[in-house]
């Protein structure tokens, strides 16, 4: 199986990613190829997800598709329902889950929430130091002057998210993070009201978004990737998805 993994897009990816093939996880490619042990298992049932999100939800070498492993089941379920009902727009996802009932979407969400695959090594840093400094400041402390709370205030001190509805941010690539923040700001992506993320996204400038995304992408893998338990801290903004 292994030599095959070097075919496909790996070759073109090698050409574009600095550092060459040596640092490119060949494993990540084979993790994106359908594989399972038992036909009658959740592992086999979620093969529809693996070419984009990886066998265990760890993500793939494609920067746009997010890691979903270990995100809170409530968050993943909300996203699956939103894709099915068309309240979150991404045509390939809308199509895939269009005719799946709630109970099954919940089971899929729980499946990926319980996965703990290793984190892929961070891509080489592209941002300059000033950008990284601004990103770090926003993530750890926010910007009181602009009314922006720290990411860690809701997404967890280790950025692994919070039960039941707030996703972890470690292991997400800049392309995905910037795209989601932008969609939130322009009103294409929503969460349950009160939509705290909308309030945050509308206060972030383009430069802020790039800075946050660049900083997040360089974070080391957490020792415990599990989300924080629900509401052990008071959150700075009211969030509908935490109800």
């Amino acid at each position: 199986m292994k030599p095959r993994c070097l075919r496909w897009r790996t070759i073109s990816a090698c050409a574009t990613i600095a550092g060459g093939c040596a640092s490119l996880p060949v494993l990540a490619q084979s993790e994106a190829i359908p594989s399972f042990r038992e036909v009658d298992s959740m592992e086999a049932r979620v093969q529809g997800c693996v070419t984009c999100h990886g066998q265990s939800g760890q993500g793939t070498s494609n920067g746009y598709f997010p890691r979903i492993a270990g995100k809170p089941a409530g968050y993943l379920y909300n996203q699956l329902v939103a894709f099915r009902d068309g309240t979150r727009h991404y045509a390939p996802m809308n199509y895939l889950v269009a005719y799946l009932p709630d109970a099954y979407l919940k089971e899929i969400a729980q499946h990926f929430a319980s996965q703990r695959p290793p984190f892929a090594p961070a891509d080489p840093m592209k941002a300059d130091l000033e950008t990284m400094r601004r990103g770090g400041a926003l993530v750890a402390g926010g910007d009181a002057g602009k009314g922006i709370p720290a990411c860690v205030a809701c997404h967890g001190v280790a950025l692994t998210g919070m039960e039941p509805g707030i996703p972890g941010l470690v292991g997400l690539r800049p392309t995905y993070v910037v795209a989601q923040l932008t969609r939130w700001r322009v009103g294409e992506r929503h969460a349950a009201e009160p939509d705290c993320m909308k309030r945050v996204a509308t206060r972030l400038s383009d430069a802020d978004m790039n800075a946050v995304a660049a900083f997040l992408s360089q974070q080391a893998a957490p020792t415990d990737p599990s989300p924080e338990p629900a509401n052990v801290v008071r959150m700075p903004l009211a969030c509908g998805s935490q109800k």
Binding site: S35, R45, C52, L96, A98, Y99
Partner: protein, 438 residues
Amino acid sequence: MRQPEVTVMKLAFKILLALVVLAVAGAAVLWWLRPSALPEPGRASTAPKDATTEVINRGEYLARAGDCVACHTEPTGKPFAGGRAMPTPFGALFVPNITPDDETGIGRWTPDDFYRMMHTGVSKDGTLLYPAMPFASYTKVTRADSDAIFAYLMSVTPVRQQNRPHELKFPFNNRELLIGWRTLYFKEGEFIPDPKQNAEWNRGAYLVQGLGHCAMCHTAINALGGSSESKAFEGGMIPNQNWYAPSLTSNREAGLGNWEIQEIADLLQVGVSHRGTTYGPMAEVVYNSLQYLSDEDVKAMAVYLRALPQRDSEPPPTSQARLVSPSVMETGRKIYSTQCAMCHGEEGKGHPPSFPPLAGNQSITMASPVNSIRMVLNGGYAPGTRKNPRPHGMPPFSHILDDEEAAAVVTYIRVAWDNSGTPVDASQISELRKLLPE
């Protein structure tokens, strides 16, 4: 955009214009016929003044069989409140509110009004309905069934929601054109049982031809949005959805002549079977409608569908593998072996019903490669149904395979294992890719 397409568009436009002129002329000639185009209500209502629980329950079941909810409800909207946009080649239609709200729904309708609408395609106020409403099929529905559906609709929660006007292009925004369309394509009349067939066949025929409105997709639609009875169930592209609805009368497509009754019933009601799986628009039909039908009704539909006369005039084609260059075949085989064989097996036998077989699968080998290409590019999940609530799924490969690679693997599955499909080339992948969700 591209030159050949512009030419085709121009030609199509000329043909369309000619047809429209004909239709307008026809409409004018038929103008004096208009009173008779508004038929009187049919037989007297059999509905008692207050519908019983039994009638309402039966109406709910029949409304499921007719899949009213799929079009008359927005994805996150209230049931039957309408508002859903229905894109057509002629512009967007906005489906009306059929909740029993007095002002904005059908709260002031009578069973007679409802039957006339179902049976003749004429609304309570005399407006001619666009044939996106499948009255050409619903005309077959009996008065008693129409009354039961009406009783059920009267029992749902009324929703005050104004209907949104249609946004149809000229000349299709002129409803008088429908007089011409009706003359050409609409044949009014309740289902008449065939005494030469048994009760089960007749029940199946009633459901398939009537409430099931299968002909809406499985009979080709022409440039005027009409379909011809002589081509019934012969298949065609579904406008605006870019899926091919296979022929039900050809064993080379979705003809079911050599399927077991149980396999047909499973496909319809469960969404998966040992012969094939439903995806796309057919998955929607199973999800919203067919999964709720009784085992008896689904079996009756299977009996009728299997008995449809098969119209294949030529002998079945043999494997087309000889038409494929060895290098393309080898590229396709390698991709298949890496990406597809895990679920579908090296020999294409699959793990049915979880992962469908590809060897001998008519939906892979049929003349139109559209559905096979779509599946490779976008993947798909079978519908989650009462008998299969946790379906298996196939991932998208559009971001993994380029046009040449996708063409090679689709070609491979269409010709390998003695499959009798024809090769596809990269341009077909590229054309479809532009139309599909990415």
